[in-house]
């Protein structure tokens, strides 16, 4: 019996172009057997929400380095609600100060993986928020 592959959208919202983390994580998730779609750079949250609908993904992962994670996450979650896809969990990675982790969770972010989180923890974390 084949198990359905987990489908992940890796989104790079906003103007920041430091995408090493997003790309490396995409490769790690793929090696862990997931299907990964990478949006490319400079995406608006609207574009990311639309891609999540079109691709019917199981989880959305955002990579944010610029420090603007709180406003970006808030806006994306609101939009996803508007699209009726608020049940898709959203996780965030990047430069995230620890005092912001509870704030992100409060907004409704399902998982936070600050820079340096080992790949297996990200993989497990994603599985956990889906199942």
């Amino acid at each position: 019996m084949s198990v359905k592959k987990i489908k992940v959208l890796i989104g790079k919202p906003g103007l920041d172009g430091h995408d090493r983390g997003a790309k490396v994580t995409a490769l790690a998730l793929r090696d862990a057997g997931m299907e990964v779609i990478y949006t490319g750079l400079h995406q608006t949250v609207e574009q990311i929400a639309r891609a999540a609908v079109q691709e019917a993904v199981d989880v959305v992962g955002l990579s944010i380095m610029s420090g603007a994670h709180l406003p970006i996450c808030q806006k994306l979650l609101e939009l996803m609600k508007g699209e009726g896809i608020e049940e898709i969990p959203v996780v965030v990675g990047g430069v995230i100060p620890k005092q912001d982790i509870p704030k992100l969770k409060e907004l409704g972010i399902a998982g936070v993986f600050p820079g340096g989180t080992p790949f297996d923890q990200i993989v497990d974390g994603i599985k956990k928020v889906i199942f």
Partner: protein, 544 residues
């Protein structure tokens, strides 16, 4: 990041050492190694200040002049940045290295919806000449040189810098600006690109051509192996990519009928310092030599000074860790030591807190003090190129040369750098390496103190003071922009933007039109908007 692969036996003795560039290092080097590489002092090194400049660009190195220090600075509104500039200068910094926020880097005004949450965050917000007038107020622009860390819209910022200087009464012949202006590296790493490859390279060419004719003391491009290394390239690839990028710009400007001899002396480089100490030193020595040889032999450049590989060797961001962040202070000191032993002409160091935040003033000052200690306390100015003649260093320098040439060949084989970037060839390669590297760290194949060895269990809990982002900066900036739009001569601005569009469309050099637009207080978003209309935007090749 670790610095090499160390293969050990069960007693922890090192059996094999392999550097990131793929060079195996022996436990002992002797005169036989120099004989094996056919070491020839005059041909391979020459005296410092003599071709091929392996040892140093200057006959006496730091004896005649210490390195220039240029810590990367800028945040918030132009007012905050101006205060920080003055602080760094008062602490002995001799040049500026200006950081711009993301909306400015991407050619959007502060009130653009895309700028939301980003105004003044990772650098200062610049919308128009009015902001530059505030940022550079009281800075002697005829004495202090400025690196402008901006790429996609570097042509706009260079024009604005000229307009600012003129406004303050400094003739354009006296100002010294180095816009980073290396768009090809943005497409490989860092990602602040806007326009398609061909048009983007044309804008770089326009600013080089204009500088050659109008701005005698400006260095219109700083080619960044730095970010390519940060994205996953090894040290040999870093240099190879930088040189192949340089060749792409050389060829663009050459095609305008300019002789390489007349402009290549304006090129400078921004190269990285983290990693294995010896490998970095060999990298810089080999790079100086190869650059001089390439310009002389392939492009027929004659004048000595135009063969110099000048630039900033510094940073080291990817070598720093989030875990046990204070360790980064020591790491930075060793990276800077490598830069000094390599004869770096200009330097800067990432601050220990950068995995968390824009550096706080205390962290930025510690970096500056690290650089000052090297120059003033421990003897690095005593003699030039102190490692010359070492059996090991000379062998390694030669091996690095070969590795760099081999990597350059691979890029040439796919049709040169413009093609390699447009197709994603380079991006694919560095991303794969970054992934393998990261996996290696997680498996403990590369040692990183505090990350996968000597961990304390609470690394992620370390408290670092954070640079506070002030939401009010955006409000202040937008209010000032609105005020500007009300008070400037809008009809004149529209007329000049139209002239800019014509120049962009007709393939004329856009710089004079940009300077006119800046003088009339056209905004960055308006000028970049003209280019967006005419050139369109780049579509990244998919690399997965």
């Amino acid at each position: 990041m670790g610095v090499a692969k160390y293969i050990k036996d069960e007693k922890d003795a090192i059996k094999e050492v392999i550097y990131q560039s793929g060079i195996k290092v022996k436990p002992v080097y002797t005169p036989k190694d120099l004989a094996a590489i056919g070491f020839d002092y005059d041909k391979d090194l020459g005296n410092p200040g003599e071709y091929p400049f392996t040892r140093n660009l200057h006959p006496q190195g730091y004896r005649s002049r210490a390195w220039t220090t240029r810590q990367y600075t800028g945040f918030g509104t132009p007012q905050e940045t101006n205060e920080r500039f003055k602080l760094m200068i008062s602490h002995g910094q001799t040049g500026l290295n200006v950081a711009f926020d993301l909306p400015t880097q991407m050619g959007y005004d502060s009130d653009d919806p895309k700028a939301l949450g980003e105004v003044g965050r990772v650098g200062m917000a610049i919308d128009s000449l009015r902001d530059f007038e505030i940022a550079f107020e009281g800075i002697p622009l005829d004495r202090i040189g400025s690196g402008l860390t901006i790429n996609a819209v570097a042509s706009i910022m260079l024009a604005m810098y000229q307009a600012t200087a003129e406004k303050f009464g400094y003739p354009k012949e006296k100002i010294s600006a180095t816009p980073q202006n290396d768009i090809l590296k943005e497409m490989i790493g860092r990602g602040a690109w806007i326009f398609p490859v061909k048009q983007a390279v044309r804008l770089v060419g326009d600013s080089i051509e204009y500088s050659v004719k109008e701005l005698p003391r400006c260095n219109p491009v700083s080619i960044c192996g730095y970010h390519i290394r940060e994205s996953g390239a090894n040290p040999a690839q870093e240099i190879a990519c930088a040189f192949e990028i340089a060749k792409a710009y050389i060829e663009n400007v050459q095609s305008r009928g300019l002789a390489v001899e007349d402009f290549v002396g304006r090129f400078s480089f921004n190269l990285n310092v983290f990693g294995n100490l010896w490998e970095q030193i060999a990298k810089f020595r080999a790079a100086r030599k190869l650059w001089a040889k390439m310009l002389k032999e392939e492009y027929g450049v004659q004048e000595k000074k135009k063969l110099f590989l000048r630039g900033l060797f510094g940073g080291g961001g990817s070598g720093l860790t989030k875990e046990q962040p204070e360790n980064n202070i020591m790491r930075g000191a060793f990276y800077a030591l490598g830069a000094a032993l390599s004869g770096a002409q200009t330097t800067a160091l990432c601050s220990f807190d950068e995995a968390y935040t824009i550096p706080t003033p205390r962290a930025a000052l510690l970096s500056l003090r690290t650089l000052e200690i090297l120059m003033d306390e421990v003897g690095l100015r005593d003699t030039v190129d102190p490692l010359a003649g070492s059996y090991f260093i000379e062998t390694l320098t030669k091996q690095m040369e070969e590795k760099i040439l081999d990597e350059m060949k691979q890029i040439q084989n796919v049709g040169g750098m413009v093609h390699a970037v447009a197709t994603g060839f380079i991006q694919r390669k560095v991303t794969q390496q970054a992934y393998e590297y990261e996996s290696g760290i997680q498996k403990g194949e590369y040692i990183k103190v505090g990350v996968n060895k000597y961990t304390e269990g609470s690394e992620a809990q370390t408290d670092v003071d954070l640079h506070e982002y002030n939401e009010q900066w955006a409000d202040t900036q937008v209010a000032s922009l609105n005020e500007l739009r009300r008070t400037r001569d809008n009809r004149e601005v529209q007329r000049l933007l139209k002239a800019l569009k014509t120049a962009a469309r007709d393939g004329k050099n856009v710089m004079p039109a940009l300077v006119d637009c800046c003088r009339a207080y056209a905004t960055v978003g308006e000028m970049a908007g003209v280019f967006r209309d005419v050139f369109g935007e780049w579509q990244e090749p998919s690399i997965f």
